[in-house]
């Protein structure tokens, strides 16, 4: 079995190049607004470190240093939870079935993070991350062949091109507001419980993409820290089960 890819230099096809372009523009806009890029790669830690050093210490003189940190603790979800603030970026280099990354990506909208997911093999479901940058190959050796390195190198290179277009950085992605965002008004916003109510009829402190707020959780009964809930009009209206299935108990 030969290992080299020989499809006319086709490491990046048209679809992937468009995905990379869109991701880079979002990345540049978020950095422009003060984001930090958090990187997790539980299966392949060195990739997380490579992304971070790429942004922090550019190999091309004169390119600005950007804040990026590899999160490589044994529990990357806990580490990302405490690190991430609304407006930040969360990038994973992982297969679609890596449990910690599935979990982090699921929670990222409650943390207010824009997400990017680099990987290979079966794709994550559509919408699992804001940007899915994928190598469509089932070869388990892909992570060691430089394909991911190429991917985040390109992401870095394109992001810095965007900085040369200051006008387009201002046209930032429109943030959801409760009143106008169809997703928010119909479905509720994803929230993560920070602390349960002090008394049975009190309010829980919950973080959403907008920050922290006190929310009525009486509909749900007891809630515990890190529970995922849907918040609508100051009330938690549903609980998302831990097992990634949406089950009401």
């Amino acid at each position: 079995m030969t290992v080299t890819t020989e499809q006319g230099g086709g490491l990046v096809d048209t679809d992937l190049s468009a995905d990379l372009a869109a991701a880079a523009l979002d990345l540049a806009r978020k950095f422009h607004d003060g984001a930090t890029l958090w990187v997790i790669s539980p299966q392949w830690e060195p990739h997380a470190h490579h992304v971070a050093v790429e942004f922090v210490h550019p190999v091309i003189m004169g390119k600005r240093a950007l804040p990026s940190v590899a999160l490589v603790d044994p529990d990357p979800v806990a580490q990302a939870r405490v690190a991430t603030q609304p407006g930040d970026l969360l990038l994973a280099v992982a297969s679609a079935d890596e449990p910690a990354v599935v979990e982090a990506m699921r929670r990222a909208s409650a943390w207010g993070a824009l997400t990017l997911w680099i990987g290979c093999g079966s794709r994550p479901p559509a919408g699992a991350a804001n940007h899915i940058l994928w190598v469509d190959s089932d070869d388990p050796m892909v992570p060691a062949t430089g394909r991911f390195v190429l991917m985040y190198h390109l992401l870095w290179e394109l992001t810095h091109v965007c900085f040369e277009h200051a006008g387009l950085l201002q046209a930032a992605v429109e943030d959801c507001t409760d009143e106008v965002c169809v997703t928010c008004s119909d479905e509720g916003r994803l929230g993560e419980v920070i602390s349960a109510p002090a008394d049975p009829h009190g309010q829980a402190l919950i973080r959403t993409a907008h920050g922290e707020e006190f929310v009525d959780v009486t509909v749900l009964g007891e809630v515990a820290p890190n529970d995922l809930v849907l918040v609508h009009a100051g009330t938690a209206i549903a609980r998302l089960d831990d097992s990634a299935e949406e089950v009401d108990r």
Binding site: G8, H50, E54, V59, M141, G146, L150, L154, E157, H165
Partner: protein, 229 residues
């Protein structure tokens, strides 16, 4: 066919400068970015193919030498700075934790921050790898150093020490090869001929993967005397 497109945009852009600046440019930037990504990827693929072709006989020889050392209980140390230290770590885990094939002992000498900062602080950054080679190395071991310039002092000091101690020494370099290309302490040097650090690192990965493949193939062969010829 593309000649007419920009022309048309130009003429309408002249009539509607505001629209052109606020709307069309985001699209055209995205198109430019996508085209740039494909161009850089093609260049990366070309460089990878050329590097593999140029060094195929040496990659086979070096991979077999590595396999022989692994079969004698040798272990692999990988070395690099910055992004290359992460590529060194990826290479080490390819050998020690492969998705398929036989796992062998390998680790990156930049991986332990206690050791790296202790040595950097106490004896100087240039010696962070050399001192570890002195501590760890046996004559059946292997050292692989990755540097896009081929000039890193900490790597060169470690390579000299490794060579002195009988290790198999392999260098991955870039640009014109730098000091690595002319170092007598290196048994094999793979120079990726490019001016781009990014493209060099991508080729380093594929060259490292080829070394691993050769070593795996050689280690899986039957080894009783009858098969040696």
């Amino acid at each position: 066919m593309t000649a007419l497109g920009p022309k048309g945009v130009e003429s309408t852009g002249f009539l509607y400068p505001f629209i052109d600046a606020e709307e069309t440019d985001a699209t055209s930037l995205l198109d430019d970015l996508a085209a740039s990504a494909r161009g850089k990827a093609s260049e990366s693929a070309r460089l990878q193919r050329e590097s593999l072709d140029e060094y195929e006989p040496v990659l086979i020889a070096a991979g077999i030498e590595m396999a022989d050392r692994f079969l004698r209980g040798g272990r692999l140390y990988t070395l690099g700075n910055g992004g290359s230290s992460t590529d060194a770590a990826t290479l080490a885990s390819l050998f020690s934790r492969p998705a398929r094939g036989r796992a062998v002992a390998a680790w990156s000498l930049a991986a332990d921050e206690a050791v790296v900062t202790a040595l950097g602080n106490d004896v100087g950054f240039d010696l962070i790898f050399k001192r570890q080679i002195i501590a760890h190395a046996r004559d059946r071991d292997i050292a692989v150093a990755l540097s896009t310039s081929g000039n890193s002092e900490d790597l060169m000091a470690a390579i000299t020490e490794a060579n002195r101690r009988g290790l198999l020494t392999i260098g991955f370099s870039g640009h014109d090869g730098g000091r690595m290309a002319v170092a007598e302490d290196l048994d094999h040097c793979f120079t990726v001929h490019s001016q781009s650090i990014h493209r060099i690192q991508e080729s380093h990965a594929v060259l490292g993967y080829r070394l691993w493949s050769v070593a795996q193939e050689h280690m899986s062969r039957p080894r009783n005397g009858a098969h040696n010829s």
